[in-house]
Symmetry: C2
Subunit: 122 residues, 2 copies
DNA sequence: TCGATACTTTTAGGATTATTGAAATATGGA
DNA sequence: TCCATATTTCAATAATCCTAAAAGTATCGA
């Protein structure tokens, strides 16, 4: 992920409605959610949700596909992962020791491996 | 970190000059950099850098202290860590399996522990 | 102590960009 | 084809950004 993409992603996430939508999409998983449903859940107008979804899409944080009359949006997990990596490089690159707290949170990503390793250590 | 803080942080990082400044500060470490030096390095006016530093400070991503005639800015590592954690929760919370790539990057934060565990596994 | 100096911040303005609700367009089914 | 549903485009409003000039603040030397 280059700086340009990171800027777009940060911009996309710096708006309350968009952040809420993204979290919705992440929770929904690969199945995604129809634009109209997103509008209802986020309690914003259809035009507004359309605008914000486009913004998320532009940043790679959401992808769209048509299903009958609806357009289904899903989270762009790759872009999300890339963004986290981008931040981690900024944070850990210069000073690994400062970022230790993050590593704890990272454990949630590979629970099985971690548990296996911990068992072995025991 | 609550949503309000995350929004402020994303907003702070969504501007090219500010992102460049933050990366500078991270690399500089706890010693920090004087405002004037930042302006030179970033190739922007003093007033402009002042504006952007205030924005970073507001988001907790930078802290200021005086040293003789200069004002030294340092990266706000806690806020940065918090932001990464916030993103990880959004990303991993619903679907841990999708975020595996991030875990790899996380390894940079606890290299020693990881090496130890890998040795044991061997 | 006091003024001169170095450094940074504040302010005002105009230009660019973001947000929003209303109108318009496109799609699928009868 | 026609209607109902779903989404997008458009134009007005609001927010943000940048430059330059003026003001503020603390330090250093006499």
């Amino acid at each position: 992920m280059d700086e340009r993409q990171a800027l777009a992603a940060f911009g996309a996430l710096s708006q309350e409605t968009r952040l809420r939508i993204l979290r919705m999409l992440v929770v929904a998983g690969p199945d995604g959610i129809a634009a109209g449903t997103i509008a209802e859940k986020a309690e914003v107008s259809a035009s507004n949700v359309s605008f914000h979804l486009k913004e998320l899409e532009r940043a790679g944080l959401a992808t769209a596909r048509r299903d009958a009359r609806s357009i289904i949006y899903s989270a762009g997990y790759d872009a999300l992962s890339d963004l986290i990596r981008f931040l981690m490089e900024d944070c850990c690159g210069g000073h690994p020791e400062i970022c230790a707290p993050v590593a704890t949170a990272a454990a949630c990503c590979t629970p099985s491996r971690d548990i296996v390793l911990q068992e072995i250590v025991k």
